[in-house]
């Protein structure tokens, strides 16, 4: 999906060392709007499962999905970071060896630009 409105945003996140995938995902549907993933990363599955986790986290904390949120899944092999804005979320698949602090910052900053990016001028 080269040339989509989210290309620059995703490219910025993917430039971070240790990021194996970056996806813009429709939160309600769990479908990939645009994404870049390394070989071996099943983008559609990550998007669906992480969106499900994100929605549940929003519900558990009593806030709607329209609020800005950050959810991180810490696993043995790495992390999944999810930063949401409205109906969209930016997700990153992060290797264990990556600098988690820098990755969080990059994902959060990219997510801040999500809402305006896809809108027509």
């Amino acid at each position: 999906m080269r040339g989509s409105p989210y290309s620059n945003l995703l490219a910025h996140v993917m430039r971070m060392p240790g990021i194996r995938g970056a996806l813009v995902v429709a939160v309600r549907d769990g479908l990939v709007v645009d994404g870049r993933v390394h070989v071996g990363v099943h983008g559609a599955a990550v998007a669906a499962l992480a969106a499900s986790l994100y929605r549940r986290a929003c519900r558990a904390t009593g806030d709607g999905e329209e609020h800005s949120r950050f959810v991180e899944l810490d696993a043995e092999e790495g992390r999944i970071m999810i930063a949401g804005r409205g109906d969209l979320a930016l997700m990153a698949v992060v290797e264990r060896r990556a600098n988690a602090g820098q990755a969080r910052l990059a994902v959060r900053r990219a997510a801040e630009n999500l809402l305006g990016t896809g809108e027509p001028a």
Partner: protein
């Protein structure tokens, strides 16, 4: 397909279907063949008419194949209908028992993304079942035709109170 073979297949299909329901959080799921015959189901009770849903879904599938043909496509991959509270997904696949279709209804507890991801896993599990070999030897094209007519007749008779 005779009754003994159908019972064997229904038992075998229940396990992967329950797995699909557990992983996706869908409310209703039913596996049917091309004629609308129910092979396995989860979640249907008095509120939802299983035979009606299966027959209508078989009809939708037939219509969508005809529409795909009109548009120069061999067939559409999946069908997804989204309502305000509930959504419907129809996914079909080829098997030794002919074309089968999974119909599932879900709400905000699941999503079309989850359903699509786990549908692929469900199909893979189903195709590995030994029961598919039973189906291969017991189902003929003539049976499909007869079953389709019979179940559609039954459904429409129910609708008009005949």
């Amino acid at each position: 397909m005779d009754r003994v073979d159908l019972a064997q297949i229904q038992d075998a299909f229940a396990v992967p279907l329950e797995g699909f329901v557990r992983e996706t959080g869908v409310r209703l799921a039913v596996l049917i063949n091309r004629s609308g015959q129910v092979l396995a189901q989860h979640g249907f009770d008095k509120l939802f008419d299983l035979v009606g849903v299966a027959s209508l879904a078989a009809g939708i599938n037939a219509s969508s194949r005809a529409l795909a043909s009109q548009l120069g496509e061999e067939e559409f991959e999946h069908l997804h209908h989204a309502g305000r509270e509930r959504q419907l997904f129809l996914g079909h696949f080829d098997s030794a028992a002919g074309q089968l279709m999974l119909i599932t209804v879900f709400d905000e507890r699941s999503s079309i993304g989850l359903v699509r991801v786990f549908f692929e896993e469900f199909v893979a599990r189903l195709l590995e079942l030994p029961a598919m070999d039973v189906a291969r030897t017991s189902v003929g094209a003539g049976d499909f035709e007869a079953e389709l007519e019979e179940s559609l007749d039954r459904f429409f008779q129910d609708l008009i109170g005949g």
